[in-house]
Subunit: 407 residues, 2 copies
Amino acid sequence: MDKVRLQKYAGLIVRSGINPSAGQPVVITAGLEQPEFTRMVVEECYKAGSGEVVVNFTDMTIDKYAQIYQNEETLSTLPAWDRARWQWMTEKFPARIWLDSDDPDGMAGIDQEKYSRTFSRKVKEIKRYRDVIENRHQWCIAAVPGEAWAVKVFPGVPASEAVEKLWEAILSASRANGDPIANWDEHNKVIHARCEKLNKYKFRQLRYKSANGTDFTVGLMAEGIFCGAAETDLSGRVFNPNIPSEEVFTTPKKGEADGLLVSTKPLSWQGTLIEDFSIRFENGKAVEVKAAKGETALRKMIAIDENAPYLGECALIGKNSPVNNSGILFYNTLFDENASCHVALGRGFDNCVENYEKYSKDELKALGVNDSVIHVDFMIGSDDLEITGVTCNGSEIKVFENGEWSI
Amino acid sequence: MDKVRLQKYAGLIVRSGINPSAGQPVVITAGLEQPEFTRMVVEECYKAGSGEVVVNFTDMTIDKYAQIYQNEETLSTLPAWDRARWQWMTEKFPARIWLDSDDPDGMAGIDQEKYSRTFSRKVKEIKRYRDVIENRHQWCIAAVPGEAWAVKVFPGVPASEAVEKLWEAILSASRANGDPIANWDEHNKVIHARCEKLNKYKFRQLRYKSANGTDFTVGLMAEGIFCGAAETDLSGRVFNPNIPSEEVFTTPKKGEADGLLVSTKPLSWQGTLIEDFSIRFENGKAVEVKAAKGETALRKMIAIDENAPYLGECALIGKNSPVNNSGILFYNTLFDENASCHVALGRGFDNCVENYEKYSKDELKALGVNDSVIHVDFMIGSDDLEITGVTCNGSEIKVFENGEWSI
């Protein structure tokens, strides 16, 4: 891929993505697939005035070996050196970047039982630190092609060509061609205007209907707001947590979700692909799941903790989003969630409550913000999807018709 | 490179190199250049019965950016998360593997003044932990080709070909062809027999002479012994700290070194190449240095702490070693030190004192074991090198003649 284009993309991730303050440390988590690009991002951070940049390189194969060979005690425990890293983050509030290049099938074949038993124990320890960090500092997830991922998205072409094609797809879906920073300034205006419009309706319910079987109603909090694209952290720094980001989203009210949601895209969870699945909800809770492939992983995911079967997010994306128009199935949530209306099981977003910083964590929970160790999006947008908003006085507004915005 | 040959090399590094005990954690430090091989080493560790394997991936370009862009305070400080990692090592005693693929010129152009000011402060913090770990657990340094390194060693051929040639050179110099573990069992017998022979002489001095100008005498401790190849840690585990390792070495007596040593190979120190240099000693101390290239780096290195100008090692290697016979200049100490007699500035080895575990650190220092934050080898082996050993009763034994063993 052309170096100048990559440099601009690195600049987008750093300047629009995390927007580091002077001297702020940055933590980058990256795979081994694109060292040159990772180096560009590091240098961009320094040029943008950041303090020390710490890069944690990870590798899915090595993670898979850990799953296969380590005993349950080791897998369940947060090692002292890793705990210290989390502790450091709760003190220094580094900006964080993830450069995702994961193989969607990278963990296929692992013992799902062992994985979820140990993951659920370990992630509880991590959550203590994550709760302190949340909304305190900027973060950004963006993607770079990994070879296994590229070959999955573009089968039948040589690996190096698939990687190039995936670079093109990523840059295009991420609005990173031309002048990426100007693109995102413009894009943020559009998304923020849409949020404003939605927030004026003060919806208390959303009703979803599609010929694929989806027939579903979810309650929204009176204090809830729709957010999208650029956010502002508690210190006032504006950042873009997801590149790309086409969605407008809110956190639904825990306990109010009923009916059936039918998935419209596969879901890769922790390296295991889950396909053609549906979830039925009663009183906010997923009570029945079916999947043509990966049903065990799906069941284990929902059983991670007591709040994993409850929803944490409802996101709206018109079917004419650039990601969807590309016609590419990315097998990666960062992209596929921006091609399609989706909901998330698990943790909700505190900042989808207006003036959330004035509430305690317990007050936010009481309002209806779900809390779980997981937050997993799955796609429910179909070409004929109809979404109706119900306001506090009972009037019904058609929000989506035939899979596209109608307001 | 052929996968089966690499698998055998990975097996050598794990089983002969670190020889992990059941459940013992392993820490691997590796560059980004050979992810496939690093994964093989990880899996070999687990198959050999190790506990968790932690891989710290590092990158010289990212380290160089840190040198360029970070302020002195940040560079001088051991971050809390890194300190915790060291602390963890002093409690768990993991076996450690380094897979070296460094570009010999990788740090060229950095501000040497800034580097040594900050490095000397930071490394003092690390030394506290390193002193606890020393001799307590197994470790092994081995090499894998990096592209920049390969192109430096084999200029004028395409990079991918240079990498293949460097793989061949590494495997051959490391006695890793055929049955590597059997090769090393045999090789260890030869080296240990040579140590035994030398130790019977109880030399008090070594005298070096070469037509290149080397004319040098160094004192040895009465309690000193020659070691080489496989060592035994304090828990009784046998391991091979260096792959390759052709040398027989001892720690000289601090304060007894006089005369001139002329380098016979370039030295890459922290990514800066130092070439055609000589060092003059008086009463054990380097008092004058000259270098055609990299003299600043050499001066800074010697000024790191008060004991850096004193010697910590004298190593003997006949000129017919496989590394030297390859005719390849590796620009990497792990190899070049095994092609040539050398000495090291800085820290000596406690375990070159007989029954060293019975002495305190202070007692070892009093015997003459030098202590410094650095330990840097440089090569002095020439084709005509003559080394004479002087025993406690004054008899002179010719140890080397024309650059080769004569005993």
